[in-house]
């Protein structure tokens, strides 16, 4: 049984949904308060769930990167441990420099909350190994600062190393502009493919009765 550690900052609000998701997938889960300085032994995966850590003050994810627990998360990630950041968690991972680029205010300035189709761009990684390349997934998004920015040099690296995970698309898989992200990027990973970040919320797509169960395969890949 895999052990999943979920990081909780003041203002995190998707921790229990994410806990539910990994329990549904048969994992042991523990919610780790940001003041902790260590992760549980035998942690197989660290997840930074969505929400509004520190009220999004200064910039989304900016203050959380200096929480005590983040030192342990950075050491875990740099040691090759698997880390997933969802929404605000993605913002935290870019702020702390574990993932390249940055997330700006949405191009239309609105908070966008809806189901969104996503195209699987690369599945040569743990996270999306259970999804087919070019498959179209249906996953909710809910964010105001999801406008992914990276400079041209950084973008070329993402492309070359197959680090782009998913792009916002229409039902046929054609890229669409949702929030202004560079080439409609919705999620990326690091070069060594152990750190993952995405704006959409797979933990909100676990049951067809609630609209989609595509999130199960995404999250399931990480603990396979």
């Amino acid at each position: 049984m895999k052990n999943v550690a979920l990081i909780q900052f003041p203002g995190t609000n998707c921790d229990l949904d994410t806990k539910y998701a990994f329990e549904k997938l048969g994992c042991n889960t523990s919610v780790i308060w940001h003041k902790e300085t260590t992760l549980p032994e035998n942690t197989d995966l660290v997840v930074i769930p969505g929400g509004f850590s520190y009220g999004d003050y200064l910039r989304s994810g900016a203050i959380a990167q200096f929480s005590p627990v983040m030192k342990a998360v950075i050491a875990y990630a740099n040691g090759g441990g698997k880390v997933l950041g969802i929404c605000n968690g993605f913002q935290v991972l870019t702020e702390v420099g574990l993932l390249p680029g940055a997330l700006k205010r949405n191009i239309g300035l609105h908070f966008i909350s809806k189901f969104q189709t996503l195209k699987v761009v690369n599945n040569s990684n743990d996270f999306l190994q259970k999804c087919a390349k070019d498959e179209v997934l249906n996953i909710p998004i809910a964010h105001a600062d999801g406008n992914y920015y990276i400079d041209e040099e950084g973008y070329a690296k993402l492309e070359a190393n197959e680090q782009i995970l998913v792009r916002y698309c229409d039902e046929h898989g054609e890229p669409v502009v949702v929030n202004g992200s560079v080439t409609s990027i919705a999620g990326i990973c690091n070069e060594t493919k152990n750190i993952f970040g995405l704006m959409p919320h797979p933990e909100r797509a676990l049951e067809n009765v609630l609209g989609s169960e595509d999130g199960i395969r995404m999250l399931g890949g990480l603990i396979a």
């Binding site: 200064l58 900016a62 203050i63 940055a102 949405n106 191009i107 300035l109 406008n147 920015y149």
Partner: protein
């Protein structure tokens, strides 16, 4: 001594808030506005009396947390 830190999105990085303000100004018939950039200002009251030391310290603050240098530039003014 006070340090005034101004933070703006880098030139070339699209500023959605600046653009929205520009549109609003156009809609209000204010003419002659070529571009609008929106940023934030952080004012720090410092205990230091040495300007060089203070500038160095505030630069470190700006680099480490106040600005995200992937997308933002900053200026520091000591008064």
């Amino acid at each position: 001594m006070k340090a005034i830190v101004n933070i703006f999105l880098k030139e070339g990085v699209l500023d959605p808030q600046g653009k929205a303000i520009h549109h609003a100004l156009d809609a209000m018939n204010f003419e002659g506005v070529e571009d609008v950039r929106m940023g934030k200002q952080i004012i720090l009251k410092l205990t230091s009396t040495n300007e060089a030391d203070a500038r160095k310290e505030v630069e470190k603050m700006a680099e480490d947390i106040l600005a995200n240098t992937v997308i933002e530039d900053y200026t520091i003014e000591l008064v």
